[in-house]
Symmetry: C2
Subunit: 274 residues, 2 copies
């Protein structure tokens, strides 16, 4: 879609789009090993089906092929090196984000600022980089490509916060996931770190204990009551909408092209309740 802002025929953008898909799936494949996740998209994950060794090696091969596809995408316009440089920058951030994510699970007290930095690295920067690459391939100026990076990154932050929000406050008939699943699993999502950050020093110990208890007893009542007292729901929705607005502001700084389709997608994503 970023490429399509400038060029009608999107065929030349496909190898780069495929490169992003390869990268994304490489990272999921390795993350699933690290998280010991048995399922991915409702099916058995690669390491479950073929073993850790094949999942490590297939992931490695897909990461390599990602760079190969970017070189192919950039050959005609001599953009291969630039695309690879943007990819490797984003890719390193994503590795760092994954490490932060694993570190967080061992901490009682990540702050909301640290959490946002973690999801920026782990998720949002890939959206930013893919928008930016699409723009550059289409011949956009560096400055417009950077605006699209900012748009993508802020959309990514909003998207990930919404994911955490829906897990706790979504309608399970629509999300298809158990309401409060993160609480029941003891996972420290954005709502947890926000509550933790807003509590006074003296109240934090009790909150940590209540969160652990919710998981032990499979009873989320106490946590929902704390979240209500702290207005976590409103705060989270407000932040998500702040990121959406900021993303839109970046997008609308690009005045030479018609951004209505991307605007519509962004609004649809931000209104999702599933």
């Amino acid at each position: 879609m970023a490429y399509n802002l400038w060029k009608e025929d999107i065929a030349p953008a496909l190898p780069a789009a495929l490169a992003i898909e390869y990268f994304h799936n490489f990272s999921l494949m390795h993350d699933d090993i690290m998280d010991e996740a048995p399922l991915r998209r409702g099916k058995e994950s690669v390491h479950t089906l073929f073993g850790n060794n094949s999942a490590i090696l297939s992931g490695d091969a897909m990461l390599i092929q990602c760079f190969d596809l970017l070189l192919e995408a950039g050959r005609e316009n001599n953009l291969g090196a630039q695309l690879c440089a943007l990819m490797s920058k984003a890719a390193l951030e994503i590795c760092e984000g994954q490490q932060l994510d694993m570190d967080f699970e061992k901490l009682d007290s990540p702050t909301d600022i640290e959490y946002l930095e973690m999801i920026r690295q782990k998720t949002a920067c890939l959206l930013g980089a893919s928008m930016q690459m699409g723009a550059l391939l289409a011949g956009a100026t560096e400055s417009d490509a950077n605006l699209l990076y900012q748009f993508g990154e802020k959309m990514g932050l909003g998207f990930q916060i919404q994911d955490d929000y829906l897990d706790v406050f979504g309608d399970e008939k629509l999300t298809g996931k158990q309401k409060g699943g993160d609480i029941l699993r003891g996972k420290k999502n954005f709502l947890y770190v926000t509550a933790f950050s807003q509590l006074k020093a003296g109240e934090r110990e009790d909150f940590i204990e209540a969160y652990a208890m919710a998981s032990r007893n499979q009873d989320t009542t106490e946590i929902y009551s704390i979240y209500e007292k702290l207005k976590i729901q409103e705060y989270t929705l407000g932040l998500q909408s702040k990121y959406l607005n900021e993303a839109m502001a970046e997008l609308h700084k690009i005045d030479s092209v018609d951004v209505s389709q991307i605007t519509a997608l962004a609004e649809m994503l931000s209104l999702r309740n599933y």
Copy 2:
């Protein structure tokens, strides 16, 4: 050294040399997880010290940084995309070689031809690609760079065969490894597949059984006697020297530069008994 054939000051080649080191160490780090190897270079391997997750993720990051360093190396001469393309080609072959190596351990009967193709992919092509990249960075012609690729690949094949040879026929005082360690571990190295390939169909079952027995009983006598009957020692030394000669022939086709230092290194490597 490849760069140094054309240019006196090797400083501009260092980021590319570092890229190869990053790649090589990434592949060792992931291989050690797959092989469950507790040690690397006499020290605890990364996954032993820091766990599989950190070893997977650090390896991923090093693979990404390899591409980043190649882009840096190629920036001045606009060679970044070409270096990355050569790297990704070699890197994919190396992944395929590692998969073949793992598959071989489950087979009774890999042929020597298949084994040579496996070590060509797993080991030799990285030597080839690094020689080629050094040459290209130094401004060598494509044709001279290709000759250095061939030289490196053939040296790599000879080196790996020699490794297997030394394991079985080396002097353990010099190699620092238990003589016949591969036999004792039941590892199907080049000598095993050569013996297997030279035996008649009716004798192969007995050989497989004897090899398994040697490992079970920790007694290599029978295998050494089979290797002696089949003249495996002479055949292996002959093949190693054939690869060295072929490598030298490629090297000496490059007539505009002084190859005496690389020649000396190649001869020293081929004479090593440790």
